[in-house]
């Protein structure tokens, strides 16, 4: 472990119960996770926490590149995966890890598991996906918003027609976006359900009342504050300190 990595890890550890936490909101489109993420963030702010939100495919640097290719419908599964992985890595290194080292709460509207579920549903090997996204900073909590493919489809259809990649038309080859969406989201949910078991997600019944879901999230978050920093995140910190210049800025900044 380099000196810088040691300092970063020590900085997180010495914050104890007050350390920053990474809380991921995962689930298929139309599962209501964004609504819950907003409610949770407002509550955290009200409790006095310093909160940073990060959304899927949102980096200023890579999002425009992905967007242009999605609009042109010109990327295939592997390029889709690699570009999203680049966007994710950039946000992890420039937004998420700096905030965590500084003791902030990071609320992620979608995290790694979105890529795993969607890319695996597109037929890519899970093993390759894990390598592409490694080394990973694992979230302290993953809330998984569970809904049926029917509910997801109905909620999406209530407001709009699903987009080309969102509906998985690049892999289903079904001309009707709604039909394609149903088939694709069923596969995505299947992948999510498997990941939920492997990675011990906290499953939220996203077909239940919004208020009940929110109260469950608050309670589970408060319980999680007793848990120590997961030591396996050291690997991601060490890698970041060794290869990313932003790591130095965080330490220097303090």
């Amino acid at each position: 472990m380099t000196d810088l990595a040691k300092r970063l890890c020590d900085q997180i550890r010495k914050q104890g119960k007050n350390r920053g936490r990474l809380i991921a909101f995962e689930g298929p489109d139309g599962s209501g996770k964004t609504t819950q993420r907003k409610l949770f963030k407002d509550w955290l702010l009200g409790e006095g926490y310093d909160v940073v939100t990060t959304k899927w495919n949102s980096s200023k640097l890579i999002k425009p590149i992905i967007k242009a290719r999605k609009n042109a419908r010109s990327i295939n599964q592997e390029e889709f995966c690699l570009l999203h992985a680049a966007d994710f890595r950039h946000r992890l290194e420039t937004e998420i890890m700096p905030a965590l080292v500084k003791g902030k709460m990071v609320v992620a509207d979608r995290f790694l598991f979105t890529a795993l579920a969607r890319d695996a549903a597109r037929g890519l090997e899970l093993d390759w996906l894990f390598h592409i996204y490694s080394p990973l900073y694992w979230p302290d909590i993953v809330f998984y918003f569970s809904v049926s493919p029917e509910t997801s489809g109905k909620r999406i259809a209530a407001t709009r027609s699903p987009k080309y990649y969102e509906s998985g038309q690049d892999v289903t080859s079904i001309a009707d976006p709604f039909q394609s969406y149903h088939q694709f989201i069923s596969r995505v949910i299947q992948e999510y359900e498997a990941l939920a078991v492997i990675f011990k997600f906290i499953k939220i019944d996203a077909e239940g009342p919004i208020y009940d879901q929110h109260m469950t999230i608050r309670r589970l978050f408060q319980e999680s504050r007793e848990r120590p920093w997961p030591e396996w995140n050291e690997e991601a910190i060490c890698d970041w300190a060794r290869t990313a210049p932003q790591a130095r800025e965080v330490v220097v900044g303090n």
């Binding site: 200023k60 390029e79 690699l82 570009l83 890595r89 210049p245």
Partner: protein
């Protein structure tokens, strides 16, 4: 996960220190080969060109750059390299995977990770390099090494040259 190549074509890789050397060197290599030929160059996907044009102060880390480089290689395989190979052509890919490995090694990225990232890429039948480069570093859009040098604010060309010298010494590539 490796991309299937079912063809009679030949894939040749070319690594350069100066991006502007790719075309002349690739043409020189292709002169030795008969039949229809092709050249696949860096950033055919225009990912790096577009990113440079965004003029955003944020800089990607080496790992992020590597993922973007892999996306560009995949694009080139899909649209340029594999279709040409399927037609029995000889294709020079300049640069190709070895430049990614070189950059990864210089940036301290684990070799295993790089191997996995590029596991979709078919191996070239032969590898070439251009020994030497011009005195002045080219603009960021001239080539991958120029892009990385500008992004990381360090002229990486001497380090790349040492890496390719070592490859040549070990018989893994030859000078054009």
């Amino acid at each position: 996960m490796a991309t299937n190549v079912q063809s009679s074509g030949q894939l040749l890789s070319l690594d350069v220190i100066d991006g502007r050397d790719v075309l002349p060197a690739a043409k020189k290599i292709l002169k030795q080969h008969h039949g229809g030929n092709g050249i696949s160059t860096w950033d055919s996907s225009s990912i790096f060109f577009e990113m440079h044009g965004l003029e955003i102060g944020e800089h990607p880390s080496p790992r992020t750059l590597m993922l973007l480089y892999a996306a560009d290689i995949f694009f080139r395989l899909r649209w340029q390299i594999l279709p040409a190979l399927e037609q029995g052509k000889c294709v020079v890919a300049g640069p190709y995977v070895e430049t990614g490995f070189a950059f990864g090694a210089l940036a301290g990225l684990p070799k295993r990770w790089l191997t996995e990232v590029f596991r979709f890429a078919p191996k070239p039948a032969a590898s070439y390099r251009v020994n030497g480069s011009s005195a002045k570093l080219g603009p960021p859009t001239a080539g991958f090494i120029e892009f990385c040098s500008n992004t990381l604010n360090e002229d990486l060309r001497p380090k790349f040259a040492n890496y390719f010298d070592d490859l040549e010494r070990r018989g893994r590539c030859r000078s054009v």
